[in-house]
């Protein structure tokens, strides 16, 4: 079945995230768009990647999008299922390459919050989910990639709670805090792809999605985005063939890649 509707922003995001994944990598993955992206990567340029889940599932036979990271789609015919402590342990031991996380707020150094809106812990404006495995993934996987929508509140000058440590105060503060890994390497949003300036570790525009100007990206941020030297490249959009794979094979029910009507 061909579906020639124009590409929507979620499909764009799924494709852009998928391009962050290299073949043969072991990746820590949750539900949602990163999962769609990882399956797309597996069906296109990275057929030999391995998925790992915090509940213990590992390398499941792919069937449908998982509803829960503890559910059967994360361990369907898995060669083995680990206990939670061991699942994170393998990331600590250096056997997991990448992880993908969402955020309610993220700051210029890639510190992310999924705990609360408001700074008073005992009386927050809104209590969010808490860490779950986010802090562990951010602390342990070799390279961390954030994924989310971008606006002035989400790209916050200061996050209300550091759930997942990014580059902390920039510079070498992350290393000084004793954290093991490379830290966040990319942030992928509805506006563009960001990386981190190597010395200061401030968030920097890498590419912007078609139709997004640097000014617009800056408007949708609560902190100043670093602009690279020279022209900013436009993020590569998926080909028609890739869109077909995404719509027909990866998420045929459109759970994650359809816009709410």
């Amino acid at each position: 079945m061909t579906n020639d509707k124009p590409m929507n922003p979620l499909e764009m995001l799924a494709y852009v995230i998928s391009k962050q994944i290299n073949d043969h990598e072991v990746i820590y993955i949750g539900t949602g768009l990163p999962m769609v992206a990882a399956i797309l990567a597996k069906k296109t340029h990275a057929p030999h990647i391995t998925f790992v889940y915090e509940s213990g599932g590992q390398d499941p036979e792919q069937l449908e999008m998982p509803w829960s990271v503890g559910g059967p789609m994360t361990w369907r015919k898995s060669p083995m299922i680990m206990e939670m402590a061991y699942s994170f342990g393998q990331a600590a031991c250096g056997m997991v390459d990448k992880g993908f996380l969402g955020f309610a707020q993220i700051d210029m150094y890639g510190n992310a919050n999924t705990h609360q809106i408001g700074t008073e812990f005992t009386n927050p404006k809104v209590r969010l989910t808490g860490s779950g495995g986010n802090n562990d993934v951010a602390s342990l996987v070799d390279k961390l990639i954030y994924v989310g929508l971008q606006d002035q509140n989400k790209f916050a000058k200061k996050v209300d709670f550091i759930t997942s440590a990014g580059w902390l105060d920039g510079g070498d503060s992350r290393k000084k805090a004793g954290l093991l890994n490379n830290g966040p390497v990319a942030v992928i949003t509805s506006a563009g792809v960001y990386d981190f300036e190597p010395e200061t570790h401030r968030m920097r525009i890498n590419t912007l999605h078609p139709g997004v100007s640097p000014e617009l990206a800056q408007l949708a941020s609560g902190f100043e985005l670093v602009r690279p030297q020279g022209a900013i490249p436009v993020t590569e959009a998926p080909s028609k063939e890739i869109l077909q794979i995404l719509r027909n094979e990866v998420d045929p029910s459109g759970i994650f890649i359809s816009l709410p009507s």
Binding site: S55, W67, W75, L128, T129, S131, S139
Partner: protein
């Protein structure tokens, strides 16, 4: 024991009386409790009502088991709520099922790791109750840090050093965690000390157990092997009680040893309305409506849980509510197909969110 908690965390959490924190990390008292038990291989079968009545006391640290709505011992948890147990401290990674315990005063304190519904977003009912003070978070965790605390307990260690949590605000909001220098390193090497964690009581739902408590289950163990060893009191609820020979014959699947266990309850559908590996699928209507109502108000939620927990009395009532044998048939087939143990032809995994007016048949 006399504990030295993280002072900054105590301040941030506004905890003045630290005595309520002690039991969770008091490994000596957990060992004493384990030593006092009758260690014989004896018949430990009880009814669910008896087991909950005898082994769950007001004020206990109760541990949510497995993963939220996958193999969690939800029917035993509902019985704890029905029996009117009060002021439990809830712990677990994740700790999803605590949220409706708060409505009934069953849960008053929480060692928080994750409260939410993954794809469905945050748990708005829990969020409201944290804000209005009906429930108090007394320590804040990541899944991995809590898992290490349970694992340390199982391994018989007073605690362990972790590389998780560093640089985050979690370590400032958890009285049990401390950032410390690695004693083996001459260079600066901060680590997080995680004490071993000993809940008072955990109920673990399994596929099969013998009458002594040797238990086996399928799917992710999550933290259950560790918490079975750590907890002062352990209730096993099982889809099926099998012979000791059956456990020996399928030895690879035996994960919880009998000497961890105080009571064994034969309880088919004990994980419902959650998912049970190899047995049955989620009661999707229940969860979708709950998440829908959680966004609305506590009153709606209370009505909902009164209907589903209090009025169902036991598992028979619950299964009748969702369609009886028809549901059993469909649910078993769907679970086996999901796990790749049966064909997927004609089996639907389509997601639907609940909307006002939808009945059980609309989201089975």
């Amino acid at each position: 024991m006399n504990f030295d908690y993280n002072q900054e965390a105590l301040k941030n959490l506004k905890i003045e009386d630290t005595s309520l924190l002690d039991k969770l990390v008091d490994y000596r008292s957990a060992r004493e409790a384990h030593l006092k038990k009758d260690h014989s291989q004896r018949d430990k079968r009880l009814s669910l009502q008896e087991a909950v009545s005898e082994y769950v006391q007001d004020g206990d640290i109760w541990c949510d088991s497995s993963f939220s709505y996958v193999r969690s011992a939800i029917q035993a948890w509902w019985e704890i709520i029905r029996q009117g147990k009060k002021n439990l401290q809830a712990i677990g990674s994740p700790n999803t099922n605590q949220t409706y315990g708060v409505l009934y005063g069953t849960v008053s304190h929480v060692h928080a790791s994750y409260a939410g519904a993954e794809m469905r977003g945050i748990d708005k009912m829990f969020s409201r109750n944290v804000k209005n003070g009906k429930v108090k978070i007394v320590s804040d965790w990541s899944h991995g840090l809590m898992a290490q605390g349970f694992k340390a307990a199982q391994l018989g260690m007073p605690g362990c050093f972790s590389k998780q949590g560093l640089g985050s605000d979690i370590v400032n909001h958890n009285p049990y965690l401390k950032v410390m220098q690695n004693p083996m390193s001459k260079d600066s090497d901060p680590c997080v000390f995680v004490p071993a964690l000993f809940p008072d009581v955990v109920v673990i739902h399994v596929n099969a157990a013998d009458k002594y408590g040797n238990a086996r289950f399928y799917g992710p163990a999550v933290n259950d092997i560790a918490t079975a060893a750590a907890s002062r009191k352990v209730i096993i609820t099982a889809e099926e009680i099998v012979s000791n020979y059956d456990i020996r014959y399928h030895a690879k699947g035996a994960q919880i040893p009998f000497n961890n266990v105080d009571a064994v309850v034969e309880l088919p559908f004990g994980a419902a309305p959650g998912y049970m590996p190899n047995e049955y699928y989620w009661m999707r209507y229940f969860w979708e409506k709950f998440f829908g109502w959680a966004a609305e108000s506590d009153e709606k939620c209370k009505e909902f849980f009164d209907e589903w927990i209090m009025e169902t009395k036991d598992i028979n009532g619950l299964i009748e509510k969702v369609g009886g044998l028809e549901w059993v048939k469909k649910s078993r087939r769907r679970a086996r197909a999901a796990e790749g143990n049966n064909e997927t032809d004609g089996v639907s995994f389509v997601y639907k969110t609940w909307e006002n007016g939808m009945g059980v048949k609309d989201i089975d």
